[in-house]
């Protein structure tokens, strides 16, 4: 693959020391696989729970599996189990690679992984046992909070160390995003735990704190980590520079500056002072600045020299460019639907679930998949066992995501329109949105199929790698 070198840097500099690079990856191989395997297991669990909750809208009963329990557990496990574990792994790999960081304390990271997943298991079981509260993504018993925070620091503090210790003076956008995300989340998590669960603020201030926390989690931690991966893999795999890269620092700062203000837009019409709501609206709109710049960076890079078709033909980039498009869509949708007129229609409907899925699945999870297809073969030294499963994984998840998100958005909008008319009885609105229940069952099955395909492939590869020196392809 050719790459044009316009920077005027001398060509033919010594390529990175080969033995050092290998040591970098050798050091983090253990923790990476530990995180990654946990992530995939949680993804499967969450997919099964998603299926149960889709069935539930059609009539499954019982005390342990109330809709409230299943959807809360599914949500928490998808975010804290799948996305967090996966980004612990990817962020660690990314910053180690970029900063030539040798992880000497791999056991600490593994300890973090174990604590994180044990605490998460306890939290999820507690939800089913009925020990939950009403704040989404803080539903687990409050005692889990500090444990998760400690585990997060053990697991995700290393990118910051890697950044501080990098041997050259240079730095890259991916590093900023990972460092920022790793720094912001524990802060926001602990403050939210304090203000919402341990020492609850007065009345609706809890709701304000919660909405602020949710945006810190979803946008800054998940979004920031995923953006880091996109910034890395696009030039890496395409072998070209990022278009308009000089804007990336503006994207970074506007991203972190405005994301924290967007939360209260999700409380429009709620019993909080209007100025708090309006600040959220302004924040969501200002956030567009960073969305536009990342769009220039990503789509610009992909649009030159038949980048899109190259991306389509690379497994990694096929997932990642899909994620990049999803992020742009999310930003625009989020800004548009934080305005009172639109928001009043879709508030309390399935629309916001669709919006969140656009961010957490179509963007973040797709980026994770893409990254996994790149990183895992390097770390395991083996190949993806089955190309067919890769195809199955891509199409099942892509169609599932597209269908599930557009169904949530469309049904949300439609039932919102009906609800806005007080003459339409509530029962009729429910009947009209019953189609969503059937659709979500189909998409839940699609997701499960795609994830099982991914898991089979990934576990097959990891298992194969533990047997020494297996040569050649398998399928």
């Amino acid at each position: 693959m050719t790459q044009d070198n316009r920077s005027g840097r001398p060509q033919g500099r010594p390529s990175p020391g080969e033995s050092r690079l290998s040591r970098v990856e050798a050091q983090l191989r253990g923790p990476f696989l530990l995180f990654f395997v946990s992530a995939v297991i949680w993804l499967l669990v969450a997919s099964v729970l998603g299926l149960i909750s889709a069935l539930q809208l059609r009539g499954v009963s019982g005390e342990v599996f109330t809709f409230g329990h299943v959807s809360a557990a599914q949500h928490n496990l998808f975010i804290y189990g799948w996305a967090f574990n996966a980004f612990f792994a990817i962020n660690l790999w990314l910053t180690s690679q970029l900063g030539r960081f040798e992880l000497r304390n791999a056991w600490l990271v593994s300890l973090g992984a174990i604590i994180w997943n044990v605490a998460l298991t306890y939290g999820a079981l507690s939800i089913f046992a009925g020990d939950l509260n009403g704040f989404s993504l803080l539903e687990m018993p409050r005692t889990v909070g500090p444990v998760l925070a400690v585990a997060f620091l053990l697991s995700a503090f290393w990118p910051i160390v890697a950044y501080a210790q990098r041997p050259t003076g240079h730095s890259f956008a991916s590093q900023w995003f990972v460092v920022g995300a790793s720094f912001v989340f524990p802060l926001a998590y602990l403050l939210a735990q304090l203000l919402v669960l341990w020492n609850p603020a007065s009345g609706v201030v809890q709701a304000i704190a919660h909405s602020w926390f949710i945006q810190n989690l979803l946008l800054l931690w998940l979004g920031g980590s995923a953006l880091a991966a996109v910034y890395y893999f696009l030039p890496k795999v395409l072998g070209r520079n990022i278009t308009g890269y000089y804007l990336a620092s503006v994207a970074f700062w506007t991203f972190f500056l405005f994301a924290g203000w967007t939360g209260t837009a999700s409380l429009l019409g709620s019993p909080i002072p209007v100025w708090v709501q309006s600040v959220g609206v302004v924040g969501s709109a200002m956030f567009l600045v960073s969305v536009i710049i990342t769009a220039i960076n990503f789509h610009g890079t992909l649009s030159t020299q038949s980048g899109w078709s190259l991306a389509w033909n690379s497994t990694t980039l096929r997932f990642i460019s899909l994620g990049a498009v999803a992020f742009t869509l999310y930003g625009v949708l989020n800004a548009l639907f934080s305005f009172r007129g639109f928001n009043a229609v879709v508030r309390f409907t399935s629309f916001s679930a669709g919006q969140e899925q656009l961010l957490t699945y179509a963007f973040a999870s797709m980026v994770i998949f893409g990254s996994a297809y790149f990183i895992l073969p390097r770390l395991t030294g083996s190949l993806w066992p089955s190309t067919k499963l890769v195809h199955l994984h891509f199409w099942a998840t892509a169609i599932g995501a597209l269908g599930s998100i557009s169904a949530s958005l469309a049904v949300g909008w439609q039932s919102g329109k009906q609800l806005a008319d007080p003459a339409v009885p509530y029962a009729q609105v429910l009947t009209a949105s019953a189609g969503l229940a059937s659709a979500s069952l189909i998409f839940a099955i699609l997701f499960l199929v795609g994830h099982v395909a991914f898991a089979l492939n990934a576990f097959g590869m990891i298992l194969k790698s533990s047997a020494p020196a297996v040569e050649g392809r398998h399928d």
Partner: protein, 230 residues
Amino acid sequence: MNDSNRYPDNNRNRRGPSGAGSDGLSDGRLVEVHSQLARDKEEPVQGFSLTPIFIVFLFCGFGFWAGLYLTRNSGQFSAGVFDLDAPKLATSGGPAVFEPDAAKGEKLFIINCAVCHQATGLGLAGAFPPLAGSPWVGGNGERMIKAILAGLGGEIEVKGAKYNGVMPNVGAGLSNAQIANIASYVRQAWGNTAEPIMDTKVAEVRKALADRKSPYTAAELLKENPLEAK
């Protein structure tokens, strides 16, 4: 296109570290090149670009709009504004003038008085005196308001029957308007035909009783406000 082209990652043997440089950019170069790009701002071959100016304008535009939006939609950053349309409604009113409201009065009566005097206003024979047809609730209302505010105890004769109980100062926890509503209701329900009572009247009596600690006795109350001749 065959599979090996469709999935290059899949087929390139990347077992060793050599894989790092084999695709696109090596990590070292990736960082270095982009670091340089960030410093040079614009790639020189492109010459003049509109992008940075576009971003600056975008920023200014958003900033201007944000200021405008917040000024218009923040409710003066007050803690008490929850509805953007509400301030308009509030300013259209003017100072509220009290109007006796029979419905409110009845509701308050049920809650505060009906336990003893009963919803029928007939009281309970031998225990609680009736209000229906009772001369005690007639007149200019002072007698009645005093009893509500301060309480009334000891022997009392109503409509020919003797009662000996204690009425607590139920009015102490109620507002002037609430008491006025209750009193107005009692004075016009069950065939009673006295004038309604205004909240200012209650305020007057409340002020006069400010120092009073003990409930009235019937004799004391009659001395201050004798029953009106029929």
